[in-house]
């Protein structure tokens, strides 16, 4: 269903394509970003080699979908203002992510906007520009 929505809206070409460190980007549509508002954090894992965020998104009929997003390592995203306590279960946030090519509810985070407007950006700048190698 989500893919159908994206098809309706079209996809703008990305100015540049991010290369994700460590585990690459082959699973994700790196030329588009999906935005999910009013997402509720269910779990935040400050883990190596990737931090992970689990969250729920509810549609206007009350149907809840469970999502998971990955970000860079703690060592990388710490430089961008994250820490172990940046997100707590129950936090309501806006999630921007690169979705899976396979329509599963998984993606690589682009950024998160907290309720107070704080933006936590991911660290997708892995290989300095040679995506085919990483």
């Amino acid at each position: 269903m989500l893919l159908m929505f994206l098809t309706f809206l079209g996809v703008l070409p990305a100015a540049s394509v991010p290369a994700f460190a460590h585990h690459g980007s082959a699973s994700y549509k790196t030329d588009k970003v999906v935005v999910m508002k009013q997402a509720t954090v269910t779990k935040f894992l400050w883990a190596n080699p990737h931090t992970m965020l689990l969250f729920d998104v509810k549609d206007d009929k009350g149907n809840i979908s469970h999502w998971a997003g990955e970000a860079g390592s703690p060592a990388a995203v710490r430089l961008l203002g994250w820490n172990k306590n940046s997100l707590q279960p129950g936090d309501v946030i806006t999630v921007h992510l690169y979705p899976s090519k396979f329509e599963s509810h998984v993606g690589r985070l682009d950024k998160i906007v907290l309720a107070d407007g704080t933006t936590l950006k991911d660290s997708p700048r892995g290989d300095q520009g040679v995506i085919s190698r990483y």
């Binding site: 703008l12 990305a14 883990a47 190596n48 060592a75 599963s104």
Partner: protein, 274 residues
Amino acid sequence: MRNLFQSSIVSLAGALVVSCFAFAQSSPKPNFGGPEDLKEKLGDTGPGGPAPRRDLTGFWAGRVAAKLNPVPAMTPWGQEQFRLHKSNGQYPVADSNDPIKGCDPLGFPRNILFMTRGIVFTTMPGKMIEMSEYNRIWREIWTDGRELPKNVGGRSADAPDPRWYGYSIGHWEGDYTFVVNTVGSDERTWLDNAGHPHSIDLRVEERYTRVNHNQLEVTVKIDDPKTYTEPFVITKSSFTWIPEQDFEEELCVPSEQAEYLKLIGEPAAHSKNK
């Protein structure tokens, strides 16, 4: 025209349906909010001044991955090995067979080409020690004049075993360039993230040149005639002095990686998990 009108109506309806949900599509602008690497964040903020003589000691910040030169033509043996490697760049992580998928060691020389956010040099009698922020591993580089071992991985009883991080010796050329030669890297390790292979015959030369107090440059040369038709320089990269002489802990934790594969890697590659 009618088709165009119909498709426009369909698109508009689709957009309205989307607006009923919490999803929206933004203009995709990969959003790089700042440096992922301490090296970029530092700029040139160390104490400065000239390079000390014959001294690399300290904590250095590099990029997560060095920019690599293309590899030369591979031999038939090299091509066959390469064909068997399913890299994360070509396959979803769940389907790749990159050794690091299960937190196996990067091995040498991949560890000086990737996950190089932080390195440390220190000395002990008769050897230089190079340590990595990633996985907190180290290599000993012998400087006591010994030769590199011969016949690593051979069948004779005295043949040394291959090692994930090989066998290394080093010497100074002048006062500011430290040259490291390495053999014996285990064939299970990959040369790079693309899955380029190497053989047990691999010989690597690293040349670390301390340009000044704050800047360290390295050139890495690959010589593996079993795998590549000619020697080549795979990278010229650089490191920056870290004023605090400290860095983050960065590991591949097997239990957390298993959780990652379960929550992210597998569903990202295969199924719809609603």
